[in-house]
Symmetry: C2
Subunit: 211 residues, 2 copies
Amino acid sequence: MPRPLKVSPERILAAAVIEFSARGFAGARVDRIARRARANKAMLYYHFGSKQALYRALLLNIFTAAAARLRPIAESSSPPEQKIEDLVAAIAGFIDEHEHFPAIMLREIAEGGAHLDRGTLAAMAALPAIVGRVVVEGADKGTIRRVHPVMAYFTIMAPIVLYLGGAPIRKAMAAHKLVNLSEVTSDVFVRHMQATARLSLVNAAPSKARS
Amino acid sequence: MPRPLKVSPERILAAAVIEFSARGFAGARVDRIARRARANKAMLYYHFGSKQALYRALLLNIFTAAAARLRPIAESSSPPEQKIEDLVAAIAGFIDEHEHFPAIMLREIAEGGAHLDRGTLAAMAALPAIVGRVVVEGADKGTIRRVHPVMAYFTIMAPIVLYLGGAPIRKAMAAHKLVNLSEVTSDVFVRHMQATARLSLVNAAPSKARS
DNA sequence: GTCTATACTTCGATAGAC
DNA sequence: GTCTATCGAAGTATAGAC
């Protein structure tokens, strides 16, 4: 993770991710973002115009980055079954590198796209489109169960985002002795989700089944 | 759905669910809640003391209700495989009756339990405990794959909550022609999730496999 | 591009009459 | 228990100097 960002807009954006993901749009404070970016409010407004514009820039950024991470997998020449497993690993990997992504995504879904413009919504919509394409490809080839592509997307993506994004609240629960926080390594979780996707989506191969 | 609530506290609570789920804790406005409840702020503070106390009361309410809905299933005498399918249907059914539940849950996870006290956290923690118990029971009997119970919980619950809670943003995307909103009936979705859970969690029966 | 000071607004909360 | 009126804090945004 590159720490010392020189330019203000980048530092502001980085600070905004932390603030907005932790507190949501309404709970975020422009002052806090500016202070964390070692800038000041005037600078923030100079570069981004408004709190909302900053927020949208951030959303566009992160969802575009997520889509860019998944697209090559969907467009590769691997068989669809393999693409599904790769997508699972890539989603988890992306979250590993962008730890604030789950909170941002969960909040936006909860918000119902309230303060989003068309561009931001389009960036979000790219994700189900990419995953859905793989599912349809596999269904056409007969190697993947024919399920509604959007449902397949949620079946794959939702547990990853919610489980990984749920780490803080599980930690809070553990602090109150409400759960045994036996957090599992990211690797184990990825393999669990790959197995889940394989078992629930991939048609048993006529030959060489391995379990 | 009973419409005409006589007592103020109940009307306020009902209005609060709508406001908090749509806008989150920080985005919710006490004035709006009072107006929607046909009460006034003073009344709200008289009954609940603060915005935060009202919010916690609401969370405690809804998570306790959700747990009460799932617990009888976990404690029934059905075989664990059946309990899993019943849990899927029950979660979806609960959301059908409490349409604001997904947004509330997603926001709380995103928030990481920030403004929650022990009681509220305990109510939330009951859900994974209930589902996890069924998974462990099945694993002990050998009918269910031995997976980490918390992971199993997220695998089951996350797609339901995110898919059903995602209806508004899908609608926003559809309004911008970004997706084909071929929303599927709740029934079809429940059956998809039951199939997903069965395929990914239930061990193939030694005899009478049906697919 | 950067900063300080401040205008303007909104919101949570309460006082006090009935 | 219910209401009106209002206080004080906090927040977004901008003016204007450098």
